[in-house]
Amino acid sequence: MAKASAAAAAAPPALDVQKYRRFHEQMVHIREFEETCHRAFQRGGHGINGYVHVYSGEEAIAVGIIGALREDDYFLGHYRDHAYALARGTDPGAVMAEICGKATGTSKGKGGSMHICDAERGFYGGYGIVGGNVPIALGLGKAIRYRGGDQICVCFFGDGSMNQGAFHETLNMCQLYKLPVLWVVENNKYAMGTSIERSHANPDLTDRINSYAMKRECIDGQDVVKLHTRVSEIVKEMRETHEPFFLECDTYRYHGHGAADGPVTQKTYRTREEVEFWRQRDPILILERVLMEQKALSEEERDRIHQEARNAAEAALRFSDESPNPTPDELLKDVYA
């Protein structure tokens, strides 16, 4: 008896099937959106140019974490930012239109891929300067504390950001003032072509945060069930303590850094085997395996969802294609409030 109850305690809590089916759908939609985006950039002619950074392979992070937030929470990120908006429920058409520079885009076409946002849903934007978004999150945390209440702010950034001075000033201050910011580093092992080992003297990113005596943890960024479960606990605790937390998500990006980082340049810094290894740890595959084991998803359903996601992504692109460009009078608007 005692043994059995211990085993019961150790067994994972019953899966909230509805939630994870929703997460699965979101992840697949994001994947298809990103792949569509990537192809559209390569094909040309959709108004996409400049820098486009897609999220394929990292979907569990945005979905698992943003899925743990409340409506009144804030979040913001770096330039690899489409997924943040999509995970929060921003209209994919508006996101695609932004990436294509259309008037119907989330930033009216003025921001582009790197500068998606959705103020209404608490998404305080994607930023193009590595590390540049980090101090801004400090201010959002400050505003929360200033007004009281139990909101939190999530700040997403890449491993590369942690070598910007801005990061260090900010994390120190965040811990000093105990501001409720969840710092999420998407450790995808590379900043452009530079590996963690070649750029961090201490490549254990979580360990680096000892410098700020902040609560911290490294987590598998590919398993959305584990990730979301743990993040939900962290967020719950943060709502009580109002203290910051640093979370390293172990992940990988499948494509090059940006659209310009093609197969040839990728060869300078990583092997096909390495990419293959991570493809085996695909967050969508992992979740599908879990859901299917639990009989919460059939093969047909899965295939249908993938097909729907493809359709949705194409619809988003179509919406964008049919959207007008910003009118010339937009040029001088929005510089000042």
């Binding site: 804030y74 885009g105 989330t106 930033s107 009216k108 076409g109 003025k110 921001g111 500068h115 946002c117 959705d118 103020a119 305080y124 934007g125 930023y127 300067i129 540049g132 980090v134 101090p135 801004i136 999150a137 400090l138 201010g139 959002l140 945390g141 400050k142 505003a143 929360i144 504390r145 200033y146 001075g165 801005a166 000033e169 900010t170 120190n172 201050m173 000093l176 003032y177 608007k333 929005d334 510089v335 000042y336 409030a337």
Partner: protein, 338 residues
Amino acid sequence: MAQLRYIDALKLALTEEMDRDDSVFIVGEEVGQYQGTLGLTGGFLQKYGPERVVDTPISEVGIIGMAIGSAMAGLRPVAEMMRMDFSLPAYDQIAQHAAKIRYMFGGQFKVPMVVRGPSGVGNQLSAQHSQSLETLFAHIPGLKVAVPATPADAKGLLKTAIRDDNPVMFLESLRMYMEKPERLEAIQPGLSEVPDDPEWMVPFGQAQVLREGTDVTLISYSTMSIACLRAANQLAEQNISAEVVDLRTLLPLDMETPLRSLKKTHRAVVVQEQWGLYGCAAEISAQLAERGFYDLDAPVQRVTGAFVPMPYSKPLEDLAYPNADDIVAAAKRTLFAQ
């Protein structure tokens, strides 16, 4: 009307705005427990508490970032730079972020913040602590830049800055901070007077004629507007009537007032404390000639600081720094009256 020192006028503006609006808070180095490096925020921590008077580590990037984010979330932060020179490590946060957030996100956010602090030459503070860096801010769309010359404007513009919905770089004249009202009154009666009304403010983008005149227009801002008044006094003794235009804000820039003055005097001197080359005075001079081409009877003269890092030694510092005599000489050049 009270006669106030510039620093006291600043303090009054901050106090009034913090009393009026709970969303205004101050963040910076030594603003709280230490009572302000120059005493400006003395008593604030006691009165407003640590959430509204935030002492920080020496982390200017963090300070500006805290201001940006909290402004986006609806607060009205006033970030103090112990000296405006120290904003340079955080220049990226200012020019790439605060300035651009509204536009690059298609108008979804407001960033109502003020970055303020003493600026310009002090008393032998040497190269890294003597700069008046307005050009670096006024060149950046999305920012506003205020450069008050008088105690009244120190108060009136700071209040406007705090209530503005955009990021405002507020450069205070360190040289004016402690000037005694008597000394200002001696330059020009009324120069130290500050209206009491807590709703009195000075709008941005409206230059003022600090002194009327007919022969030549002296155009400047901040400390150098006071130098222009001194120069105008000297010129008056030589029967030259100088009009002094104080720009008050550089962004937005009111060129109508100086151009109107030019229509009357047909001669202009533009004065700037800092380096002339690619400095703010160049823009003023250029616009005077471009837009006032047919009004100008003589080339515009610029009086600016020496194009060198500020030297420490007093005699060299004095040489590097424009003064009333330099302005008088330039005015006379426009009148071919050397």
